[in-house]
Amino acid sequence: MTSLLATVAIPDLLVFLLGALLCLVGAVSILTVKNPVHAALSLVMTLFGIAVLFIELQADFLAAVQIIVYAGAIVVLFLFVIMFLGVDREEDLAVEPIVGQRPLAAVLITALMASIVALGLVGHFEVGPATQTGMLHGGAGNVADLGRSVFTTYLFAFEATAGLLIIAVVGAVVLARRNNPDDHVAESQVEELA
């Protein structure tokens, strides 16, 4: 610990620990809680923690976006659907697990994480040559950097996201329709309910 204090500035350390704590507690509780609503809330917690870490990494704008899009939109959608379907009753929508037993999964995942970290340690977490895509300023300045790279280097990706949104919208509309087309009376039911 002393060595840490020597190397790392205290506020940074605190912020990091706060963020990491939020993340991990949230993540673990997603795994453990029974009620999906609680799970969603713990997801918010994790996202918040990650936002804090973004701030620690001087990616302020991304931190804001993280809160706005994830916590503000995606998780809200989750909660909306949970309420909408009334699956806050536990395990209402349970489907058979895709892959078998927990121990197997645990072993696999642990092996995966261990090997990743081990590989990282082998390479001493050395990274490649710096600043190949573009300069990155810290703090509030990096919005401009982002802007530049999004609209030059990653222009195509930016336009491609439009395609994703199209799919999302069309998909949502198609999927939200009444299920069985032969069930005409039920159709009118929906009309009446909406």
Partner: protein, 101 residues
């Protein structure tokens, strides 16, 4: 000096692993989705950390696109869940109304 890269990467790996584990073992579909989101966020964290230590903007920009992808995935995935639920729901309703006459 600031936090070393390795801490962030290890943390990201942990989150990623927890998410993956959740996808594999949880039975509730919505929770599975949340775990996928968790994995994506772990990747985001790693990207930003790398971007910072590379002093390179690419990683942070990538996070942008990941956000969009996540949004699209959630929209579609929840759409599928809604569809399934409504089918089952109507099925249940039919049985009951049969009994009730």
């Amino acid at each position: 000096m600031s936090i070393p890269l390795s801490w962030f990467i290890i943390l990201a790996t942990l989150l990623f692993g927890i998410g993956a584990f959740g996808v594999l073992v949880r039975r509730n579909v919505l929770v599975m989705f949340m775990c996928v989101e968790l994995m994506l966020n772990a990747a985001n964290l790693a990207l930003v950390a790398f971007a910072r230590s590379l002093n390179d903007v690419g990683g942070e920009t990538t996070v942008f696109f990941v956000l969009v992808v996540a949004a699209a995935e959630v929209v579609v995935g929840l759409g599928i869940v809604v569809a399934i639920f409504r089918r089952r729901h109507s099925a249940v309703a039919d049985e009951l109304s049969e009994m009730g006459g």
